[in-house]
Symmetry: C2
């Protein structure tokens, strides 16, 4: 299986990632669920409620949300503990699946319960076969190679804040944050980018998603997506300051994107969404 | 009186502006109040509670806050309505004043009650004579030539959001927002900058301030200051999109500054705070 290199950021070649900032509409136009359903192409969609400590109600919510959108069938994947993910029992749920949808909760539950298990390998196969992997809220964060697991909202970043952990690695070279404007998370996204400007910081609002294919993404939904590019940073106190000191960071490039905008992850540049539809040369 | 030109941003030559993001500490180290007191140099400090519809308690809070910091005397300036600001009665409060401190409330109350009155002219004289004008929260916003008066917090900017109004104009070429990280106001600051990238967007956290002298400012206090520079913006949908559409804005330059950082308003660049103390050539 080809490995990604830092020079080749973006999603692994294969299917589509739909990375959602949480609280996607489950009634009305349901633009994001509609996009997921379209990519499922009438096959099975697995609703993975693994992130939740108490999954009751999640699956039922999505049953309603996907009703009438043409998904072949909808099944729930939950694992009580890691033993279940290591065994064979749950694998059958993925038979015929052309999509997996990670719901919200705790991103560490996703990675600690299914990371490096046959179940995770099977999900990855769905993706590599051209399927769609969607994730909302915790399910969005977990897509990254290194994921944000904690960090204060509604305050500026302090040097000792923030915890990160290895994520599923379906998209590399980026850090995803969700509920972005709603929870005032610019501070913590900039803190993440400061740690290593190699990673692009991507903050996604509620009811908003990025659709990642090849080395590009498109924005859909009702809110905005913020891209913080640290490549040009000229000063950072992240390695010097005391833990309780606020961040100092000069010359971040920031893009605010909304529906109709697209972004080239390799070139780190917004591109017209129309160009993508005509097929932009890329990886 | 010399007028500012767009080529000469920053504070009007004269004294010092101390622009505070709200909720400055009134106990303990009181770094911001201490800085204000230092600039008052033992003279009178006028606590202008004009922004408040119900000023009870504001003045008393600052009496406690400034205790023991060496301010000569502290008086309260409040105007019930504009008639009082047009008359001569209140002018005496400013005799011997070397500082004026605008407290929080509603920035429109400041400008609508004292804008273009003898009282405002007298306050401006204090500043031009080398005094300090401080403002916190609404008092911070009111310093600008064009001030933010309204706009949603904790959501991304939509084209029809945001209301602006003419402010006191003590500092030009910038838009100030306050309670910045705490209220998740990056969206609305970017919306303001999108309207005319000529203005620098400056978002100030609580218990944090910028000390503006000449064409520079220094950061003091416990939080961060965000500077959004739109000069390099390559795309904006602000004039095209429908009112309820989210903003799209490419290539904003963003700086996160904290205590010890300084910024050159003319060059739009962070500068080492040490350089300022030795006297940076400027306007």
């Amino acid at each position: 299986m080809p490995k990604h290199t830092p020079d080749n950021p973006g999603a692994q070649p294969g299917g589509t990632l739909i990375i959602i900032g949480g609280h996607e509409a489950k009634e009305g136009r349901r633009e994001i669920l509609r996009e997921v359903a379209r990519r499922v192409r009438g096959g099975r969609l697995v609703i993975a409620t693994v992130a939740s400590h108490e999954p009751e109600g999640y699956f039922e919510g999505y049953q309603g949300g996907f009703e009438g959108l043409g998904v072949g069938d909808l099944v729930e994947l939950y694992v009580e503990d890691r033993t279940e993910a290591l065994g064979e029992d749950k694998l059958g749920l993925l038979d015929g699946a052309t999509g997996v949808f990670f719901t919200g909760g705790d991103q560490l539950r996703i990675t600690s319960q299914i990371g490096d298990t046959p179940l995770e390998a099977r999900i990855r196969q769905v993706y590599e076969a051209g399927g769609v992997i969607a994730g909302t809220s915790a399910g969005a964060s977990a897509m990254c190679e290194t994921m944000l697991v904690k960090g204060h909202s509604k305050e500026s970043y302090r040097i000792g804040d923030l915890a990160m952990a290895p994520g599923l690695g379906l998209i590399r070279g980026v850090i995803i944050d969700q509920h972005f404007a709603e929870r005032g998370r610019m501070g913590r996204l900039l803190g993440a980018v400061a740690q290593n400007p190699r990673v692009l910081g991507i903050g996604i609002d509620e009811d908003t998603a990025i659709v990642v294919e090849g080395g590009h993404f498109r924005v859909i939904g009702s809110g905005a997506v913020y891209v913080a590019d640290g490549a040009g940073i000229t000063h950072s106190n992240i390695a010097e300051a005391r833990r309780d000191e606020p961040l100092s960071l000069y010359d971040v490039r920031l893009h605010v994107l909304s529906a109709g905008d697209a972004f080239d992850l390799g070139k780190r540049k917004p591109v017209p969404a129309e160009a993508l539809r005509e097929g932009v040369p890329g990886d």
